[in-house]
Symmetry: C2
Subunit: 209 residues, 2 copies
């Protein structure tokens, strides 16, 4: 039994979709970022970083999307969400997800969370102006060198796919034209048709409303 | 047989130490960041991201420190560098390394690589000023909540240790006083006494000279 702490519109969507794809038994707890619930003393006891996702498992608490995704995949091998039997293929999955968390997500965070790395309003505005350029560069690289198609790793859907989908959902807000990224756009369409994605997005939106 | 592309003073040190700890057969290729060798057409063919580390393996090319470390550990199970037999413990290793790459390394990169996320000199200076604060916060969290001792995961040395050591080496340049971080300082001392670390650091410094 798992419990996932998430907030709508965040990278926790990837973990939520993966729980659903895995056929896991789980509950969710929605955090309200507007009232800064992720910094409440109760939540910081679970996750001292004050971020999402946080996954409560029978073994303990897990954070960080690449680790959470890999753990769900390993806990439900029949769902075949990662190539566990092939160390190199598994490392490629980890490398892709690591790029998303350390480069792409970080590039985007400079739009609204510049205060993490600077103090002046002028710097925040400067960072915000550069986001379309950095996000376009990140996705151009994904389009050209990483997205094998039809899924990220090729014929087999893996834990790379909901994570790419989650980050790609942010593109529209960053003035990146999906027409310049036909393979990413095709991947998004394919993802949005998956029953697990429809169910989870419906649930997150209904709870948020 | 492996080939590791690295530059001195970068996060590639963690992968280099891990190849040594694993007892792997490997060669190294030093990149000169000052002459921007990481952006040469030859190197971009290997790693289109233009970063280090890049690990050339018999199966293909791997990038991203958390993935490279996990792959080396899985390729040399006798070295016991990761708890492969325990999915939750392995996920905790991945979560720690993911935190280092997506939060701690990123926080530090704002010291000298602000151009990745902004355009104005005033923003670069602002980012640089904040680095001691963000690095202190990251390491205070590691000291308090993550470093079990004597090694990151407890009694067993893992692939978390050379990565923490690598990032902690940057602390001095960031005006973070190691006296405020006794457990991190103890970990650094313990790491610097390991034969693999001595050998690799000696080699990187000799080649750099």
């Amino acid at each position: 039994m798992f419990k996932l702490y998430y907030a709508p519109g965040t990278c926790a969507l990837a973990s939520h979709v993966t729980l659903e794809e895995a056929g896991a038994s789980y509950t969710t707890e929605r955090l309200d970022f507007k009232s800064n619930q992720q910094s409440s003393p109760e939540y910081l006891k679970l996750n001292p970083k004050g971020r999402v996702p946080t996954l409560v498992t029978d073994h303990g608490i897990l954070t960080e999307t690449p680790a959470v995704l890999a753990f769900i995949a390993q806990s439900f091998p029949k769902a075949k969400l990662a190539p566990h039997e092939d160390a190199f293929a598994f490392a490629q999955v980890q490398a892709f997800n690591s790029y998303l968390c350390s480069t792409v997500h970080v590039a985007l965070a400079h739009k609204g969370r510049g205060y993490r790395w600077a103090a002046e309003e002028s710097s925040f505005a400067d960072m915000k102006r550069k986001v379309p350029e950095t996000m376009a560069a990140c996705f151009a690289l994904s389009e050209r060198d990483m997205l094998n198609g039809p899924w990220v790793m090729g014929e087999q859907y893996t834990i790379c796919d909901p994570y790419l989908f989650t980050v790609a959902l942010w593109l529209e807000g960053d003035s990146v034209d999906l027409k310049t990224l036909p393979r990413v756009a095709d991947h998004m369409k394919r993802m949005s048709e998956r029953p697990a994605v429809k169910k989870v997005m419906g649930e997150q939106q209904a709870k948020a409303a």
